[in-house]
């Protein structure tokens, strides 16, 4: 997918970003995120698509064969370095993490 401009950050997209920012080295499937945030999948997937298009998130199939596992493969999303910086900036500006930028 082509890299898009920075996505608009709604309250829900900030919640999603927070999940990744809290554990930046972890990968999450869509189901993990809606369990943590309570955001419905119908809202979540367009948000994930926007973040991925902007290059903030990267996604890949989990390394497992669907037939061996007896279930479909999960698509795992992870924060990119660009995504980490952007999340840090956005969450700090809103005072969600650390001190807000204007107070530093």
């Amino acid at each position: 997918m082509a890299k898009m401009r920075d996505p608009r950050l709604s309250h829900q997209s900030l919640q999603v970003l927070r999940v990744f920012f809290d554990e930046p080295k972890e990968s999450f499937a869509g189901a993990d995120i809606w369990r943590r945030t309570g955001i419905l999948a119908g809202t979540l997937y367009p948000i994930l698509a926007r973040f991925e298009a902007a290059g903030w998130l990267d996604s890949d199939w989990e390394q497992l064969s669907a037939s061996e596992a007896g279930r479909p493969r999960r698509r795992l999303y992870a924060l990119t370095p660009k995504g980490y910086n952007k999340a840090n900036e956005a969450l700090a500006q809103l005072g969600i993490i650390g001190r807000p930028a204007w107070a530093q």
Partner: protein, 208 residues
Amino acid sequence: MGTVIVGVVIGLITGFAVMEAYAWFDAVALWLMHRAANHIIKDERERYREEWAADLSAIPSSLYKLAYAVINFRKSVAHEINAVFVAGALDLFDELLTDFDNNFNRLNSKMEKIRALFKRGNWPDELRNDLAALERGHYAFGLYVGKTLELKCRLEARASHVDSVASADAWFEEAECSLDEIIALLESVKFARENPEAANGETGQAKF
């Protein structure tokens, strides 16, 4: 006694009916998911189908699976996802145009300097021919930038009418063709630069 038997029979029938309905919940949930995924553009359809199927399989209860599918897998979600890809493709054209524009402006200023230099001196014909070839190449590049801009404007105008999976698929096909067209034009420039004689003789395009 008769009432008891009727009660037991009704209970059994209800029990079987509930069990039967319950057994169908998974299939209905999966069908709803597939129906929504069918509204996602061709290139991404399979990915979301598998991803959403994994989500469904992570839900232990069939009743919850059905409820989850009813709430989440809607055509509008697919359209929102398509819109992200459309915007991404348009941004790619923007990026391309910005690159072209920067290069074109940089080349323009260099061309001006070369032209000014040539005006001042009495240069041999060979060098003058080289300058003419350079001017032609520069002009061709300008045409390609114009062509890219035209394609992008057309795609942008049509993007607002992408409201069904058929129109989204058609739009992406057109976007891909447009990109292929630009790449082919650039390849012809490259070819002409690397093989000036062949390019002049055969295609007549981008004579450098």
